[in-house]
Each structure stands twice: as structure tokens, then as C-alpha cells.
Symmetry: C2
Subunit: 170 residues, 2 copies
């Protein structure tokens, strides 16, 4: 994110300084402009990259490899995971939560995602909403999730996860 | 994104300088300012506007006015609400859900938000994570929520809500 923004700015700063001074009010105008940018430029489609992260996560889960599954998340203390236990913070906290909730392969089961909807939020962020299902010998589980992805130099990573277990219908 | 940044610069540099000096600010305001804002200046802080939407929602809820509470949401069939019931779609669907789940003031109770964290996602989107609590005569309720806000010409609106009820600790 910082890198790509830096690249963009480097291009901009190649413009002459008088020019920049003449239009120094640009910052103030930033508030009203995105609508125009949206209508004139079609956004770059990153959905295949995001889907690839989720596919990797699914494969890691299904071979019982939680640390590899976690690699889809932002490795930061600012990573957040919301759910019925409240808010879990940080990569290490989330790793611990997964290890505690899914101590063995029987608890992990076979993970499937369904109905993925990927919505861009600006150039470097996206919202992914979908259903998760665990097929397990100890009883299936499932529900819905909302993931906020951010694009880093290393690729797209989940910066926030809100996951719910769905009520079972009788 | 790198591609689109390049496109923006290419288009810009094709303009003749006199034209740019005379009228360029209109064009530049539309195209280049989010980048500048991101790299050179701290991003525009919209958190007060987002907080204002939530404060309005809280006030509407606490006077028992669900339609006014709903005004914090994007009035669109593409609005989504995720939770333990799965995914509810559209403004009308969400209105119906709220009316069904909270049929009277006793069920609605007094709403409080706590621990709000507002994270910008580009220039026009933001993630808000926080805790909700309903103080009620029929039994309190509470949990965490994740809201994705988008900035529209009319202001910031929730385009996706994922809300969980928190497990009560014994």
C-alpha cells in the first residue's frame, strides 16, 4: 500500500513545482471528487487474486494446517476478528483462537466456502461476504462471514474478519 | 492500480499547459487528489461524519423509531446484513427484519455503542468495529458489529452490517 502510493506520488511530483503551488488547493477538493473518478475509470478487478487467497486458505485448512490457513490474514497486532466471543486482536491472538477452537482434524473437518461476493472498496480494499461450512464427524458447523481485504505489497490479506455461526433450523 | 495510476498521469500530461493552468484544477481535483492526500498529507478524517451517523441512529432507536434508525443504511437492494440468521438483503428486507425482531419499545430498549474503531479504507469507504448493548426490561442483549460505510453524495451510509450477539458469560 505505502509502496504503490509512493510510486503514484513520484509520478505526480515530476510535475513542475509552480504547477503544484498553483493548484495547492487540491487537497481540499478531494472531498467532492471520487464520484467523477468512479464514473470515468473502471476499477481494476482484483477478485481473482482475492479468490486465490481464499482457495489457499481452504486447502490449508483441509490438510489440517492452521498456520498456513492463517497466512491469508494480515500478520499484524492490528488484525481483528469479531464474532460471538467479542473481538480477538492480532495475528497471534487469532492463531491461538483457531488452535483452541479447532484442536484436531476431527474438529476442523472439511471446509467449504459458498456464495462468495467480492465488492471493491477503493483501489486497495475489498469486502468479501460468503458462507462457510465444516463437514465433520463431530457434527457439521457453518454460517456466514464478512472479510475486509487490503492490498499490501505482498498481496491481498484479510485485515478484519467477522464470522457468525448460523442457527441450525430444526 | 498501477495501471490506472499510469492512465491518470498519461491523460493529464496530454493536456496543454495553458489549458491546465486555466482550467486544470477541475480535472485534477477529480483525478489526482486522493493520491496526493494519501501520500503527502494525512488522509481526510471522516470519522466525525461517520460518528454523527451512528449518533443519529442511536437517538432514533432510543425514541423507538426504526425507519429513522434505518436512514443510516444505504437505501438499496444491494445493502447486506450478515448475522446468525444468514444474509439479509436490501433496505426493505432489513427494515422488515428489524421490525420483526424488535416489535416494540420494550424489545428495542436503550441502545448504546461502545469502543468504536473507525478505519478508513480508501477515500470513500471505512470499516467501523464496535460493541452494541441494549438495556431492556425483557433482558439485556449485546455483542459486536462490523460496519462497512461508503461515502455517497448524500453522506456516509452503511453498505454492509455484520452483527453478532455475544455469548453471555455465566
Amino acid at each position: 500500500m505505502v509502496q504503490s502510493a509512493g510510486t503514484r506520488f513520484a509520478r505526480f511530483s515530476a510535475l513542475s513545482l509552480p504547477f503544484v503551488f498553483a493548484f495547492g488547493h487540491l487537497y481540499l477538493s478531494a472531498r467532492s471528487t471520487p464520484t467523477l473518478a468512479k464514473t470515468q475509470l473502471s476499477p481494476v478487478d482484483h477478485s481473482h487474486e482475492i479468490r486465490a487467497v481464499l482457495t489457499e486458505q481452504q486447502a490449508a485448512w483441509n490438510r489440517g494446517d492452521i498456520p498456513a490457513f492463517l497466512q491469508g490474514y494480515w500478520n499484524s497486532p492490528d488484525l481483528t476478528f469479531a464474532g460471538s466471543d467479542g473481538i480477538v486482536r492480532g495475528y497471534d491472538g487469532l492463531l491461538e483462537r483457531y488452535r483452541k477452537t479447532y484442536p484436531d482434524k476431527a474438529r476442523m473437518g472439511e471446509l467449504e466456502f459458498a456464495g462468495l461476493e467480492i465488492r471493491p472498496l477503493g483501489a486497495d480494499s475489498a469486502l468479501v461476504v460468503g458462507h462457510w461450512h465444516l463437514k465433520r464427524t463431530v457434527g457439521d458447523a457453518g454460517g456466514v462471514f464478512s472479510l475486509v481485504f487490503h492490498r499490501f505489497p505482498v498481496g491481498w490479506r484479510i485485515i478484519h474478519d467477522h464470522t457468525s455461526a448460523q442457527k441450525l433450523t430444526p
